[in-house]
């Protein structure tokens, strides 16, 4: 029973983290039909911001990192994605791949390719007991942060004018524009939120691993990409649910697989994804074919 609580909390925290990562990807896919590979670089750069701001108190680190990464995301959109917004999905995809590689390698030029240790949130690495079960403090914080941010974004999308515009643009971009939604603004907002979420993911991931490499952002971003596919592309709820499911599956495999198979954990998770796609090619909550934005 105590194991169930420990693993249950782990599964919820991994699921929450992956759900956050997926939401960042899905928001941009919704308005632009762009799978934003640059999210990988945003998450990585968030980690390096923590390293840069090392000696400051954590609220300062969090605030500055969120602002910087959100601004970087908006700037990326302005420079790289806006000029080719009307291009086909393949071009957009390759562009975001290029942006990601560019940012990552500029980072390598500045900070080097070696692994660096970061003591962010080290006080959270202790565990405490609930009813005899050992529970990781960071896992609980991760669950709290994920739920809080998901709730915040949901409230924003539901209750503010900009949020409603963003959802309308996700539903049907051209129609939304005709009804007075300003394209540039709504896309910039999506990028800003997505950048903020990337920063949040980098806090949680960096605290978990305690180290940084120029590719630390890859893992959470990939889970986000795959989550949007299994959630049904274009559905925000589906993407978050997909991310959550992937996170839970990861923990289940960690627990269930014999130690010899442990390195193949991710391969098993993605194998499940393939099987799921055989049964439901349109994803869990997909409405059917995703058409290119006209």
């Amino acid at each position: 029973m105590t194991h169930v609580i420990t693993y249950g909390i782990d599964a919820l925290s991994q699921g929450g983290l992956d759900g956050l990562a997926a939401l960042g990807i899905a928001l941009i896919f919704g308005v632009m039909r762009l799978i934003n590979f640059a999210q990988t670089a945003f998450i990585t750069l968030g980690g390096y911001m923590i390293l840069l701001l090392g000696s400051s108190s954590w609220p300062v680190v969090v605030a500055i990192t969120v602002i910087v990464i959100a601004l970087l995301a908006v700037a990326t959109e302005r420079v790289a994605f806006r000029p080719i917004r009307e291009a086909n999905m393949a071009t957009l995809l390759v562009t975001s791949f290029a942006v990601s590689s560019f940012l990552q390698n500029v980072l390598i030029m500045i900070a080097g390719a070696q692994t660096q240790g970061v003591a962010f949130g080290a006080s959270l690495l202790r565990s405490f007991s609930i009813g005899g079960a050992q529970v990781n403090k960071l896992a609980v914080v991760t669950i709290g942060v994920s739920l809080g941010l998901l709730g915040l974004v949901a409230a924003f999308l539901r209750n503010t004018r900009t949020g409603v515009e963003l959802r309308a643009a996700t539903e049907n971009f051209r129609m939304a524009r005709m009804l007075g939604v300003r394209a540039n603004r709504v896309i910039a907002v999506a990028f800003a939120i997505s950048g903020g979420l990337a920063a949040a993911v980098s806090f949680l991931v960096t605290a978990q691993s305690g180290s940084l490499t120029p590719t630390s952002g890859l893992q959470p971003a990939i889970v986000g990409f795959v989550a949007t596919v299994i959630g049904g592309m274009g559905s925000l709820v589906g993407a978050v649910a997909g991310g959550f499911a992937l996170g839970v599956a990861t923990v289940i495999f960690q627990v269930a697989l014999p130690s010899g198979a442990a390195p193949y954990n991710q391969a098993f998770v993605f194998a499940i994804v393939f099987l799921l796609l055989v049964v439901r090619p349109q994803g869990l909550m997909g409405a059917g074919l995703i058409e290119e934005r006209a």
């Binding site: 039909r33 799978i35 790289a80 000029p83 080719i84 291009a87 086909n88 999905m89 393949a90 071009t91 995809l93 390759v94 562009t95 791949f97 290029a98 942006v99 590689s101 560019f102 990552q104 390698n105 500029v106 980072l107 390598i108 030029m109 080097g112 390719a113 590719t215 890859l218 990939i222 990409f225 795959v226 949007t228 596919v229 592309m233 390195p263 193949y264 991710q266 391969a267 993605f270 194998a271 994804v273 393939f274 099987l275 796609l277 055989v278 090619p281 349109q282 994803g283 074919l289 995703i290």
Partner: protein, 376 residues
Amino acid sequence: MTSAQDADARWLSWLRAVWVPLALVVILGAMAVVSGFLSPELQYVAETGFVYLVVVVGLYTFIGLSGVVSFGHITFMGIGAYASALVSIPVITKQVLLPALPHWLEHTQMSLVPSVLVGGVVALVFALIISFPIMRISGIAASITLFAVLIVGNVVGSNWVQVTRATQTMLGVPTDVGMGVAFGAAALAVCAAYGLEVSRVGLRLKATREDEFAARSVGISVARSRAWGFALSALIVGMGGALYGHLVGAFSASDFYLDTTFLTIVMLVVGGMRSLTGAVVGTIVITVLQQLLTYVEGGLNLGLFNIPALPGLSEAGLALVLLLILLFRPNGITSGLEVGFPVRRRRQPDTGADVEVGEHERDAHVVQDLAHDPSK
């Protein structure tokens, strides 16, 4: 019309039919001859370029013809390299490096050509297995799922001690790919890709690229066409990977991951992913550019200026070139056109004259473009 004119016309139309692969092979041949006069290191760069061309042409047969970007094809390159290495490393070496192999595999030792074929076929079989779920989902979802394939391939490749030596280097592959083999393979790949492009499979695939719904409406199965293109391109990329193994002699799983994926995608997109000429031009341009960037990355002493070593510069430079191309010339250097045929088609008095004029203008355009930049 005299019979001499007739024969002339027949010869011209025959030449026109094989013009694109012929011209490309001639260009590649010229590059091979020129690189013969260069230093051994630069010759090796040229050989590597030819081997990469096989991979990029393989990518073109799926990405270019179907319009679906694949971030997973380098897995096939890796599969080809490992499969061909496993059947060509000398038995004695294998007994030391890979003692856990099954007996029949441990005692198989093939020469270059059969082992490259084995590499290609193993990649093909793997592609057929995974193509079923992937080709049924939408193009963009397929791109992401193929990216997941790349990750899974890397996870397996860097952990499977018995077969890939995990993160340790795979050693002892006979290095029997020289300039002749590399050029020959590149030329063959170009011809094969062109053959595929003008075949029924290729035309159907292009139809699904141009308009998925129109293609469906004339009875083309998008999933089946893509699956064919996917499998055949995996065959070419797998053979490219096998050749790569025989070129470098030692490699590890990390050689078939993000960096190589990015490099080959840059080659394809910079040249223009909608034409075979684009794949060739892109590979040549990027190979040269990357070599220059590698010089700078390692640090340069220019007398007055001393540029320090800057790891990451070459990749960042490639990314920047790709971005600039995407922003200012989104269809690549060739704009998706093939190398132009130098002789004007004789005007037919009745049908299709306008269309033909259009074609000539496009051809003239690309010839002009190619003439502008001596590096192509």
